[in-house]
Amino acid sequence: MNKETSGRPLLRITDLHKSFGGLEVLAGISMDVARGEKVTIIGPSGSGKTTLLRCINYLEKPTSGHIYIEGNLIGEKKVNGRIIHLSDRELAKERQEIGFVFQRFNLFPHLTALGNVAIAPQKVLALRREEAEQRARQMLEKVGLSHKINEYPERLSGGQQQRVAIARVLAMQPKLMLFDEATSALDPELIGEVLRVMRQLAEEGRTMVIVTHEIQFAGEVSDRVIFMDQGRIVEEGKPRDVLLKPKEPRTREFLKHIQER
């Protein structure tokens, strides 16, 4: 497994808490992800995995705790010794470095595949239209959809839509890629094509945090597996250890449950 040790971790989360109203969904998460590392997070529904991911790119504002990317505080800044939340503009800029792949794709229905992938480079990175479209074409080729660039999302299968969504994220050249149950909304036959793309990205040395139910895939692709339950990290370690020889009883129970499906 590739793992560049460049000293400082790419992603660092310290004591992250998140509550919705009275319900505490994240009860103190701390973790590091090194550059080029692939971390998979598994756990039952309601364990807070998705919320954790959404906090990293600040789709949800954490209740307390901090997130750093390459040593830089994300979502907040220090002003006169106090920490305050960032404005939308500043948040937007930070999000350019973080790619997020949604469970339900969230492609833009009024744009073609090419349009979907090109719009952010064009409007956010201010590339010229030809440059943006050139980059979009490259990304779509990378995910194997060159023949579908002019199709609208409604004419694409679920697997194709998700691959377009991945291409859309790649076009922004992010430092970190987050996958929120990227295959959970897909029919079984279509899961494979998306996993293939994700495997390819992993082999290229990208830094990825993946939330998934695909245990086998997790085992093949990850450098580290984290098991979460009820807002806490219960167990983490090498995939071989966590998935095949789990130490914690809760981990064992969860894996047994998954295997039975």
């Binding site: 973080i98 790619g99 969230n106 833009f108």
Partner: protein, 221 residues
């Protein structure tokens, strides 16, 4: 019957006289429509803003203009404003009055349209690094417009019908001419029936178009 003879002899005269009011009717309708489309969007954006200081005036404005009759609003603008120094012309009062009234209504249409776009679209746009403003401009509004087309078309029809009250502020449009004709000839039945037919000639086709747009939108979903 006296009525049918009147219609026969003078019907054509009535019709052509009333048609003379159409340019004014259309001017007011189109002027108010443009005003309402633009101002309504402004109010809608204020309405969904994150800052209470922007939301509050928008809400106040919408509640007041939707909670009071257009007729009263016209009277306030045309007869009331001179008291504080503004003397609008009949056309100005009519366009601004119907425009403000319409903008309050349209702002709710815009708001519903924007909010109808699935949250995931906004999140995807934000995740790609777009500011909320950019997300609104390139992702949300283009989709919302398709949803809003039927209600906006319906609104245009309503606006056209509402022009029939602006004679109270002195605009010489179809209804003003109709009332003059009636004073002149006492043939209220014939005149008003012809006036009605005149309006129907425009509103009925527009209504059919709006219905077709609505069906298209439902198919599209």
């Amino acid at each position: 019957m006296g009525f049918w003879r009147i219609l026969d002899e003078r019907g054509w005269y009535f019709l052509t006289t009333l048609l003379g009011g159409w340019p004014e009717t259309l001017t007011v309708a189109i002027g108010a429509l443009i005003f309402a489309l633009i101002f309504g969007l402004v109010v809608a954006l204020l309405r969904i803003s994150r800052w209470r200081i922007l939301r509050f005036p928008a809400i106040l404005y919408t509640e007041v203009f939707r909670g009071t009759p257009a007729l009263v609003q016209l009277f306030v603008i045309y007869f009331g404003l001179p008291d504080i120094g503004f003397e609008p012309s009949p056309f100005q009062a009519a366009i601004v009055g119907l425009g403000l009234n319409g903008a309050a209504y349209l702002s709710e249409v815009y708001r519903a349209g924007i909010e109808s776009i699935h949250r995931g679209q906004l999140e995807a746009a934000l995740s790609l690094g777009m500011t909320p403003a950019r997300a609104l401009q390139y992702i949300i509004l283009p989709q919302a417009i398709r949803t809003m087309l039927p209600p906006i078309t319906n609104f245009a029809i309503v606006l056209l019908k509402d022009t029939s009250i602006v004679f109270v502020v002195g605009v010489v449009e179809v209804m003003a001419l109709a009332r003059n004709l009636v004073t002149e000839t006492l043939q209220s039945a014939a005149v008003y029936l012809i006036a009605g037919a005149l309006y129907l000639c425009v509103t009925l086709p527009m209504a059919r178009l709006a219905a077709r747009l609505e069906r298209q939108r439902q198919a599209w979903q």
